[in-house]
């Protein structure tokens, strides 16, 4: 009780310092007056009495200090003093502060940026009180041929899984894709998600307006064409008008009634992505061909909430045991038969990124920690130099009775202050960098965009990093300083030698780490260079891909009618002035779309061989010439290859050599791709299909006109810029085929870049980190030599006066740096090569032990390092020997 009361009194004194101080002075004065009176009464002269009183009282300042210690929290008051002291002392050396701040701002900034991603993708949990019970459903499919895992299901499976009440409280399923929302005349691209009825109740979401989707909406197929929109979509497209409720909107050609608005900041199954429009799965057939009950369609992703009281292991075991029952209840004709159902932890949300981004993110995190270490070493070195210059100050302070602990604390507060200021700048840098990274990552991405924002965890991380940095970097110099003050006077040789040893070791560590960082950058850059220059088998410059189809994809369009429209459109596109050549294909290469078929070859003696899983695509007339793919043998598709005419096929070189090794493939007959006894009419060069990284695949080409597809991708070789052309095509489609729409317009270059987005990101980041690490290490080298030149001015003077040439003096310092750099490279290279093993899975046709990469790294580092030493070293050559000798 009294202790508590005392605490409060101390606390209040903290804020009434001036008054407490005044009271104290008054009391001391009164006390002295009384004493003086007493002595005067004893017959002393006033003057004598004054001195006697002071003697009896003892040291006034000491008494005051004791009083201060008792009345409040001295450590807190002192801390405040320390902060102000540190501020004054730092503001006297702006140069030091600038270099230290910059090192830290970048060192901590890149840390915060990468941690923002790590936090957003790998650490953050769904904002649900029971996130730990959320699981993601997966299936293991075992067929006689092969075993594979799937995380997508057909609708009947979801219905059966929902019946497993022994395991799950609820199961939801969802399917997202980008769609065209038509408002007025302007079509806009939005993210549409089809969801099962209990989706919103699963996340415990309340509507911002109207109502959200419920089980009734999703009960009967096609009965309830409704949707809800996101708060952001409501604001952007409907101006926040409450009348949006009951309004009908057209999305991908389907009419849906808006019934509600989802609250702002809604987090669905994924933390990194959100939709703009949600509709029940029951409306699927109005957006895509085929009802949702279609058992052959594997499309839905599923999350489930475990029943309360059931453990993860128990749930997994029960689900596995129930798998045969679920399977038995499903329609017989379906894809992914014989699945064994499994669960995976989804407390961090449905996993679309974690699996693929985990390793790159962890590696980046490691890299930024190395950068921070280099920055820390810089700060330590700067502090050491600074402490050395301030030895006199410390000696005086110690002599005046400051405790060593207090001095240590003052110095630590100084470095903490620098670190915090650096951290504040780092936050700004990290926000900009994170934005840049996401933009880079999402550029050209067609379906999923990654969204991550910093939060309080990130802020805490930054703060923690600042404090740890300040301690790591500041502790040794501060300790040194607080110890060193004892001997006032000329610097002792042993002391400065040990200090210079420490400084050298720090620079050595910096150089070693810089080698590691730089090597990583060189590897990624090399890999990206490989990916960019890899022969795709076609010429991708100045090619635009535009997908064209009926605006309601669910609509059954007669192939003949569609062919007519598409042909007409193609003819008009070819007339556009900026178009050189154009052709249809389906699907478009490099977009991720792919079709495959088995390929039955009948040889001359009537025997058949089957090639499974041959990739193919429908190519229109002029496709190969548009992409500049070489026709090696035979002929191209012609206008005469019509639906009624004999079926024809073109194969690539790989397929030709695989199907008819050593024979002329022209004129051979094949069954497959829905064609009977199609004639091989030509052979083209090998090319990439879905990905830049893929190996050479056997590919067949079917005549677009014989494919009965009702939509296709225009491949256009154009002149000039792609944007005006895109607009021209948009207008063309509107006038020629008003019921058709274009989507996913992108140049081949953008498509390629989106395929290597992760590589681009990694290269960009590793180069940034490599550059930062090296730059910081060079600052270390520069600082060391510069300091050494200053310290040895006298020595240089002596050397020059006895006849040393400028070059010799310069060499003195450059050699010093060179030895250090060489040593750092020798230490760093094996370390870098070892660590690079971790990267190899992410690299394309680059090996870590390739001497070329190592030599580039070493050369870069040595050259820049020598330059960093040359600049301050040159200063040494300008020393005037007479002055140098006179000044000491």
């Amino acid at each position: 009780m009294s202790r508590w009361r005392r605490f409060l009194a101390k606390l209040s004194n903290l804020f009434r310092r001036e008054r407490a101080e005044k009271d104290l002075a008054r009391e001391v004065a009164a006390h002295l007056a009384l004493l003086e009176d007493e002595y005067r009464r004893r017959g002393m002269s006033p003057e004598e009495a004054l001195y006697a009183a002071k003697r009896a009282y003892g040291s006034i300042e000491q008494a005051k200090e004791l009083h201060r210690d008792e009345r409040s929290f001295p450590w807190l008051e002192q801390s405040w003093q320390d902060v102000r002291h540190a501020w004054r002392s730092l503001s006297k050396s702006p140069g030091f502060v600038a270099v230290a701040l910059l090192s830290l701002a970048f060192g901590i900034g890149v840390n915060t940026a990468i941690f923002t991603l790590v936090n957003g993708i790998l650490l953050k949990q769904l904002p649900l009180p029971d996130a730990g019970r959320i699981v993601q459903l997966e299936g293991r499919v075992e067929t006689p041929d092969r075993t594979f895992e799937t995380s997508r299901f057909n609708f009947p499976v979801i219905r059966e899984l929902r019946r497993q009440e022994m395991v799950f409280q609820d199961v939801i399923a969802f399917w997202a894709r980008s769609a065209i929302l038509e408002i007025g005349n302007e079509p806009v691209r939005v993210d549409l998600e089809l969801v099962t009825g209990s989706y919103f109740s699963f996340f415990g979401t309340q509507p911002a307006l109207g109502r959200l989707l419920n089980e009734d909406d999703d009960a009967v197929e096609g009965a309830n064409p409704v949707c809800v929109i996101s708060y952001e979509a409501w604001q952007t497209y409907f101006g926040g008008d409450p009348k949006v409720i009951e309004q009908a909107i057209t999305i991908d050609g389907a009419m849906l009634r808006v019934v509600g608005v989802v609250p702002r900041g809604f987090v669905g199954p994924e933390l990194q992505r959100s939709a703009d429009v949600w509709a029940p799965t029951a409306i699927k057939s109005s957006i895509l061909p085929g009802g949702r009950e279609l058992a052959g369609m594997i499309w839905l992703a599923a999350l489930a909430r475990l029943k309360p009281g059931i453990s993860f292991e128990e749930a997994a075991a029960r689900l596995q045991a129930a798998s045969p029952v679920i399977e038995a209840a499903l329609p017989d004709e379906r894809a992914n038969k014989a699945s064994v159902y499994q669960i995976r932890d989804a407390s961090k949300g449905y996993d679309s990124w974690r699996k693929t981004l985990r390793d790159p993110l962890l590696i980046l995190m490691g890299a930024v920690l190395l950068v921070l270490l280099v920055a820390c070493a810089n700060l330590t070195n700067l502090l050491l130099a600074r402490m050395n210059d301030r030895r006199q100050e410390f000696a005086i302070k110690l002599a005046l009775g400051i405790s060593r602990w207090r001095l240590l604390r003052q110095l630590l507060v100084e470095s903490l202050l620098v670190a915090l200021a650096g951290g504040a700048a780092a936050l700004l840098i990290s926000v900009a960098l994170t934005r840049l990274l996401l933009a880079l990552f999402n550029a050209g991405s067609r379906y999923r965009t990654l969204e991550v924002a910093p939060d309080s965890t990130v802020f805490l991380y930054t703060l923690g990093t600042c404090v740890v940095t300040a301690l790591i970097a500041g502790l040794f110099p501060a300790w040194q300083a607080s110890r060193a003050g004892v001997h006032l006077g000329p610097r002792t040789m042993t002391h400065s030698r040990r200090q210079s040893y420490v400084r050298r070791s720090l620079v050595l560590v910096q150089v070693t780490l810089a080698v590691v960082l730089l090597f990583g950058a060189v590897l990624f850059a090399h890999s990206l260079g490989n990916l960019k220059t890899v022969d795709l088998g076609f010429d991708m410059d100045q090619v635009l891909t535009v997908e064209v189809g009926h605006r309601n994809r669910a609509r059954k369009v007669e192939p003949e009618a569609a062919a007519l429209v598409l042909d007409q459109l193609l003819a008009r596109v070819r007339q556009l002035p900026s178009v050189e050549r154009a052709a249809f294909s389906n699907p478009a290469i490099l977009t991720g779309g792919m079709i495959a078929s088995s390929f039955v070859i009948t040889n001359t003696s009537g025997e058949t061989t089957t090639l499974n899983n041959v990739h193919y695509l429908d190519a229109g007339v002029g496709y190969f010439s548009t992409l500049n793919m070489p026709l090696l043998q035979g002929r191209d598709f012609l206008e005469t290859d019509r639906p009624g005419s004999p079926p024809v096929v073109i194969v690539n070189q790989q397929l030709a050599s695989q199907a008819w090794p050593g024979e002329n493939p022209i004129g051979k007959r094949v069954d497959g791709m829905g064609l009977k006894s199609a004639e091989v009419i030509g052979v083209v060069g090998n090319s990439k299909y879905t990905n830049v990284r893929e190996d050479t695949k056997p590919i067949a080409f079917r005549a677009f006109a014989q494919s009965k597809t009702t939509w296709g991708a225009l491949q256009i070789r154009f002149r000039g810029a792609p944007q005006p052309l895109e607009r021209d095509i948009q207008t063309l489609v509107k006038s020629v085929a008003p019921n058709y729409q274009i989507s996913h317009a992108a140049t081949m270059e953008i498509l390629r870049d989106s395929l290597i987005a992760q590589d681009r990101l990694l290269t960009f980041l590793s180069s940034l980190f490599g550059f930062l690490g090296t730059a910081l290490a060079l600052v270390g080298v520069y600082g060391m030599i510069s300091y050494s030149v200053t310290r040895r001015t006298h020595e240089i003077g002596v050397r020059m006066s006895v006849g040393a040439q400028r070059g010799q003096v310069l060499w003195l310092f450059v050699r010093d740096a060179f030895m250090l750099l060489l040593f750092g490279v020798l230490l760093g290279t094996p370390l870098a090569v070892t660590l690079a093993r971790l990267l190899e899975a992410m690299l394309y046709e680059v090996t870590a032990s390739d001497p070329a990469n190592i030599s580039i790294t070493v050369a870069l580092l040595l050259l820049s390092g020598i330059l960093a030493a040359y600049l301050p070293g040159r200063r040494a050559t300008r020393v005037n020997p007479v002055q140098a000798l006179r000044c000491d």
């Binding site: 009361r5 005392r6 009164a30 003892g58 000491q62 008494a63 009083h67 008792e70």
Partner: protein, 100 residues
């Protein structure tokens, strides 16, 4: 020291720091010669605990001084503390006896 100061104030009534110091010297028969300034921490502690209360007043010679008086709570605390001190000193006494 806290206990001594508290005790002094309890027996002598409200007193200023100088008075307390003089009194202590008398009682201890000059055995305890402390710098008078060292009294302050004890006074601060006692006041913050609410056992004594200080107020500005005038001495008989018309000098101003801060007078400290024991509060009701202070009296209770004095008793409890005295009790405790006796116990401890008795205990130490006993220990010392046994040792010698």
């Amino acid at each position: 020291l806290d206990l001594i100061v508290l005790r002094t104030l309890a027996t002598m009534g409200p007193q200023h720091a100088y008075g307390i110091a003089t009194r202590l010297q008398q009682v201890s028969e000059d055995l305890l010669r402390l710098n008078q300034g060292t009294l302050y921490p004890a006074l601060v502690r006692l006041e913050q605990q609410g056992w004594i209360k200080g107020a500005w007043g005038k001495t008989e010679n018309g000098r101003e001084a801060r007078f400290y008086a024991v509060t009701r709570k202070g009296e209770g605390a004095l008793q409890a503390e005295t009790q405790r001190w006796r116990q401890i000193s008795g205990f130490i006494e006993k220990l010392l006896w046994e040792d010698s």
